[in-house]
């Protein structure tokens, strides 16, 4: 694989991102209300003042004109300013990136470490009680809404047992590592649950498929133990189909775990998105969604690169 291949792949994403930006821009403006609605019921803001703001933000222009204005400044590297706070979009996003990376990094890392052995054990013991149990757990994990599981966790660990703080990034007047970790544990666990449930299914099915292959029998015929066969011959082949799902999940979750962050009042990208949605903060919304889209495109390229690393039959020119 060459650098030029990677550049070509990323270059090919430009028309895609342009198309996405048109659709997103249109959908956002189709939603009722606008960023200035919050002033409508405020008696201290006069209608004239609102009209003045509308002109200042360019919101009086037709939507296509607004889009091209947005695109023009975006291409010049100017992400615009939040209508709600007046701060630059980029710095608003960067401020929230740290907490989101901590949360999603921990959740994804934990999920990967747990999902892999669960999937493998399920596949090697398929049909057993353990497999049935893990399958049940997976379906429960996939079907349980995250906000509900988050509430259950808060009820149990904060209200009943009092072990962990129910929400927030850190306690007021305390910013120690331990305090922040105590805040991080619960949202990270809740977030990782659904990911573990889905990833372990993908790894299980990949593994079941591979364990039926002739070369697995060859490995047994050489005198390998079951663990040796699984680790040395099956795992790498079984991971190949799971790679896409894992890579795209990475991108989705790093670009903001909206529900988890909202329920746990976690000051990350996901909550910024929620706040921007509520306030119809167009520049922030567009910035976040374009970043998210780029993340997904990047994740797909990373998935393809990982395929080639795992499977020598795949080569890109």
């Amino acid at each position: 694989m060459s650098l030029s291949y990677l550049l070509r792949r990323l270059g090919g994403a430009i028309p895609l991102l342009l198309g996405i930006s048109v659709i997103l821009f249109a959908i956002i403006h189709l939603a009722p209300g606008g960023p200035l609605d919050m002033y409508l019921e405020n008696p201290s803001v006069s209608p004239e003042a609102i009209e003045q703001m509308r002109t200042a933000y360019g919101l009086d222009q037709p939507v296509p004109v607004q889009y091209f204005l947005w695109l023009k400044s975006m291409l010049a590297g100017d992400w615009g300013y939040s209508i709600r706070t007046g701060k630059p979009v980029l710095s608003e996003i960067l401020n929230r990136l740290g907490p989101t990376l901590q949360l999603s990094g921990l959740a994804l890392g934990f999920a990967f470490i747990v999902a892999m052995p669960l999937g493998v054990i399920s596949a090697t013991r398929r049909g057993s009680k353990l497999d049935t149990g893990l399958t049940l757990f997976s379906f429960a994990g996939i079907s349980t809404p995250v906000f509900w599981m988050a509430l259950l966790f808060q009820l149990l660990f904060s209200v009943q047992l009092g072990w962990l703080p129910s929400a927030g990034y850190q306690s007021v007047g305390d910013g120690s590592l331990v305090d922040r970790l105590r805040h991080l544990v619960m949202p990270a666990t809740v977030l990782s649950f659904a990911i573990i449930a889905s990833w372990s299914r993908y790894i299980r099915s990949g593994m079941v498929d591979v364990l039926n292959q002739d070369y697995i029998r060859t490995a047994y015929a050489k005198g390998r133990t079951e663990i040796g066969v699984v680790v040395l011959h099956a795992l790498r082949n079984a991971m190949i189909p799971a790679v896409t799902v894992i890579a795209v999940d990475f991108a989705t979750i790093i670009s903001g775990a909206v529900i988890t962050e909202t329920v746990f009042a976690w000051p990350g990208i996901g909550r910024l998105f929620m706040e921007a949605m509520d306030g119809r903060d167009y520049p922030i919304l567009m910035g976040l969604m374009m970043l998210g889209s780029f993340g997904i495109v990047l994740a797909n390229v990373i998935a393809d690169v990982t395929y080639a690393a795992l499977d020598p039959r795949i080569r890109y020119g």
Partner: protein, 336 residues
């Protein structure tokens, strides 16, 4: 020649949704060192299950050896019953003292590992070779199976090789620890005819050099004539005839064996000259459904020589000559 492998009374069963299913119903078989024994039969005759029973590689849970002995004389000269060894003891024999080659060279190699590493694997596992010594062994093995430029080919992945080359790699892999017994399960079936012959010649040469016993499983009588010293013909989970290869081809003494030989396509040149086609003589009927075996001799529903007695009980092996046994009560009528 010493007896290397002596299978007696082997019964192998599978658990199915309809209850237990007997795939092998009392097989007796001997392989001596330096000798090639062909196990011949159609799909479903139980020949592959017999070989997987010897390797103890039956599908976990579903398959089990229900009765019988599999005596194997190891390198150290002691004889052990493979049917009774635990998994750990069996593991030390697999790939080391007994190796196996499979039918499908295209799918029997791990697609994500270099062939050199796959060949060296058994040697690393059983002889605890270092990485560099194992690599050297792999190259040596590739050279042994006549793959040109072995040092370079060791670093190649299976998909970069042809089917014939991959089967050579499989052979190199199986022989990496100098096994006493090689089980070859239809090793040439998936290959082109010209490549088949090359592989058979290679196997014959290697057997002479290494002196191992070979259990060669096939459905192809042409291949049998090419490689085997002795032949055992299987039908419906039992051995129905066993003899030296020459004897079997000269005096087939079981109606099934005879049917197999008659069904080989022949060209009648005189008929061809007259513009007539030579009919293909197939055995009527179909193979035994193991769920509903016939009463008496397994072959009686398809047999032109069957009499009432054939439907009464499964016949015992009858002696044709000293080394030639047949499971047919009418073998004299057959030859008369």
């Amino acid at each position: 020649m010493t007896d290397l492998l002596t299978v007696s009374g082997l019964v192998t069963e599978f658990t199915t949704e309809d209850g237990p299913l007997r795939a092998v119903k009392g097989v007796d078989l001997t392989v001596r060192s330096g000798e090639t024994v062909a196990l011949v039969g159609e799909s479903g005759s139980g020949k592959s299950v017999t070989s997987l029973s010897v390797m103890r590689l039956l599908p976990k849970k579903a398959g089990r050896i229900a009765a019988g002995e599999i005596l194997f004389r190891g390198r150290d000269g002691t004889t052990r019953d493979l049917a009774k060894l635990n998994e750990n003891e069996m593991r030390r024999i697999r790939g080391n003292e007994i190796s196996m080659i499979f039918q499908e060279p295209m799918t029997s190699l791990n697609p994500t590992q270099k062939v050199g590493a796959q060949i060296a694997e058994a040697a690393r596992l059983h002889q605890h070779l270092s990485a560099s010594a194992a690599k050297a062994r792999a190259i040596e093995m590739l050279d042994l199976v006549e793959i040109p430029d072995p040092a370079k080919r060791a670093d190649v992945y299976p998909h970069q090789m042809s089917g014939g080359m991959r089967q050579r790699v499989m052979i190199a892999m199986a022989l990496a620890c100098n096994p006493a017994l090689l089980i070859a399960d239809e090793p040439t079936t998936a290959l082109d005819v010209t490549v088949q012959l090359q592989i058979l010649e290679l196997m014959r040469r290697l057997q002479r050099e290494i002196g191992m016993g070979v259990l060669f499983i096939t459905h192809n009588l042409g291949v049998v004539a090419e490689v085997a010293d002795r032949v055992a013909v299987m039908y419906g989970g039992r051995i129905v005839e066993t003899a030296t290869t020459a004897e079997l081809f000269d005096h087939p003494s079981h109606p099934y064996t005879r049917g197999l030989m008659d069904s080989l396509p022949k060209v009648d040149h005189a008929a061809r000259a007259r513009g007539e086609a030579t009919p293909l003589r197939a055995i009527p009927g179909s193979v035994v459904d193991p769920r509903f075996p016939p009463r008496g001799c397994d072959f009686n529903p398809r047999c032109g020589f069957a009499v009432d007695e054939c439907r009464a009980a499964v016949p015992d092996m009858a002696t044709v000559t000293e080394a030639h046994l047949t499971r047919c009560i009418r073998w004299e009528a057959l030859n008369g």
